[in-house]
């Protein structure tokens, strides 16, 4: 039986708050955590100790997520590390191209998933556990009302495309013009 204590997870994100948040979730669940604030640091960390799982942001100054993946695949063993893309930019101009490239091609040999920011602690943890073959914690059911609303808002925000937002903007402007 695999235990979280046996697994090391690398968190790559340029936002210190996000690193603090995700490493908090994983540490509390018992995992070993490494952190890096861009692709270069992440590569350094992988060289020092091969992680069992990588949570990766796409848009970062310095070396971006996709460029880090292209470096990683050069090593056949590293190429099999499960990757979870966690980004706010899966559908916008900033990250869309990279995102599509990663998911439409076979850059990496290992499992590949993604989560959209913002993300609840439960979803984040369950995703990591699932890919690592650990039983999911039954916490989704215990979600309270604010949690559900929050998750709802994030889903909606994530789904909104520019055309929809433009329509909303126009509607708001019309409202303003009328008042």
């Amino acid at each position: 039986m695999t235990r979280p204590e046996d697994k090391t997870i690398l968190i790559v994100d340029d936002e210190p708050d996000v690193i603090a948040y995700f490493s908090g979730i994983l540490e509390r669940a018992g995992f070993n955590v490494m952190t890096a604030s861009d692709g270069n640091e992440a590569l350094q960390a992988v060289k020092e100790r091969r992680p069992d799982f990588i949570s990766l942001d796409l848009v970062m100054p310095g070396k971006s997520g996709i460029r880090f993946l292209y470096e990683l695949r050069k090593n056949r063993d590293w190429a099999r590390i499960p990757i979870m893309i966690v980004t706010a930019h899966a559908r916008d101009d900033l990250g869309k191209d990279d995102f599509d490239e990663i998911f439409s091609s076979k850059i990496m040999a290992g499992p590949l998933t993604y989560l959209e920011k913002p993300v609840s602690p439960e979803r984040f943890l369950n995703n990591v556990r699932k890919i690592l073959g650990l039983a999911p914690l039954d916490q989704e059911a215990g979600m309270d009302e604010p949690d559900r609303l929050r998750s709802d808002i994030s889903t909606r925000l994530g789904d909104a495309d520019i055309a929809t937002l433009k329509r909303i903007q126009e509607a708001l402007e019309k409202e303003r013009g009328a008042s």
Binding site: E15, D17, A20, Y21, P61, D93, A160, L165, K166
Partner: protein, 603 residues
Amino acid sequence: MIDSWIQSHLFEEVPQILGVLDREYRIVKANRRLASVFGEWENRRCYDVLRGCSTRCEGCEAARVFADGRSRTTTEVWVDKAGRHGHYVVHCVPVPGEEGRVAYVLTMATDVTQSKHLEREHQILFERVPCYVAVLDRRLRIVRTNELLRTTFGDQVGKLCHEAYKNTDERCPGCPALRSLEDGGVHSARSVARRKDGQQASYVVTTAPLARKGEPIEYIIEILHDVTDVEVLEAALERERQFLASTIDQSFDAIVATDAERRITVLNPAAEALLGVTADEMRGSTELERVYPAEFLAVLGDGGSSSILRETTIRAGNVEIPVRFAGVVVRRGDRTLGTAGFLQDLRDVKRLEREKLDAERLAAVGQTVAGLAHGVKNILTGLEGGMFLVRWGIEEDRRDKLQQGWEMLDRNFHKITTFVREFLSFAKGREAKVAPTDPNALVKDVVALFEEAAREKGVVISSELQEGIRAANLDADGIHRCLANLISNAIDACLVSDRDGGRVVVRTRDRRGCLEFEVEDNGCGMDAEITRKVFTSFFTTKGTAGTGLGLLVTKKTVTEHGGNVDIESTPGVGSTVRLLFPRHRLPALTAHGDRPKQGGREQ
């Protein structure tokens, strides 16, 4: 009395040359006139005296008179005592002797050399004149032709005129020869004739009676002039004219032209549609202000020769229509032939331009809103993280997690406050107040604002402003904020850079109808990937220090001015950001008397 004068004087006084020959052809008597022309004659033979011959002439008229006793008239060529040939009309009369025989012949000669010369010259003229000449009788039968006519049409003497030239039995309609016969006047007509080589050619036929006024007309002279070449030219000219006319008619551009007296001669259908007039009502009119813009009329008034107006207006009824105009005074040498103007309706172009600007603005708004949504996502993630840590701290009584979570919440609440404030001012930026603004003064203002603070941080700001830049319609506050944002970014880039001696230069430029603001730094620079993303959406590389709204607002403000943002950047070398405003796309002035909306602008 009279009889005795005749007997004694007539022989000498008649204005003719008189000589009497005997049957041996000796001149036995002659008057002084003969002696003065031909010299000595006594006892010499006539052929010796008159022709310088030693034998009798062949076909001698005198011999015939001696033979049958009848009078004869003939023409002779004689040689005078100086050896000159002369033409003479000679009258030979028998003088009877005894036994009824002709004893003598009286020869009376008149010198016609002068008239012979004239006749010959007429003959040459008739033959050699460089046009086709024929003489017709009253029945239109050709009685005589000249050399050129014979060469071209062959010898047609004896044929009827229409037979000869057209090979037809019928007279030509409107035959000028018949008209000349009828009224004795000169007439002409166009005709096509067939030459002897089978070719058809066009001629102008002119006819005139060969008789003096009042005399009965027996003959008609007919002169043909070849006009085939002229007709070919006329046809080419007509084709040219047709081509031009249909080009003008079919043109999408309105075309108007006048003659030298500035009367309207051409107004094509496109011009009718544009100006709301008809060609019929305008033709001949001198109201050029109805078809030419005022600028071109001024050029015409000053004696100028052309004007090209990229954008002007023409008044059609009560409407001002935007047009592009090209006008020219058509000259040949020193002579003015007229004027021509080409008007292109710019209404559609203007509408498209407006729609394009609107679309660009809307796209900028859309991008901005999308960017804002993502900004909210990041802050939400921070809040989510803070709450998780706080909950963890409470549940497991871990003060460190509580502390960390609380700080994260605090930071993100602060961030969302800043964000909302910036967003509000950004939203208010839509109430742009556009006024004529001096771009250089604007830059001086912004630079002065940053100079001191930058110097303290070791960054030098300078400005290089092009002199004499015209005022432009700008939302001064909006552009001020853009420049402040760019300069602030440039200073930050210098501070992040490893090098000392940070430098920021702000420039203005006005070239090719485009107003430019430029902010250049020698800071850290950005790689191509980041440069590409800088404006596309909500983006910050300053971590928690920036909201990422600055450049987004700049982009939006510039787009609303119809402008563009351009970035060049090299990592480790520096960045140059340019705000480009094509002047013809700048917004109209905010209408006078517009009151700012309630609440006003922050700061």
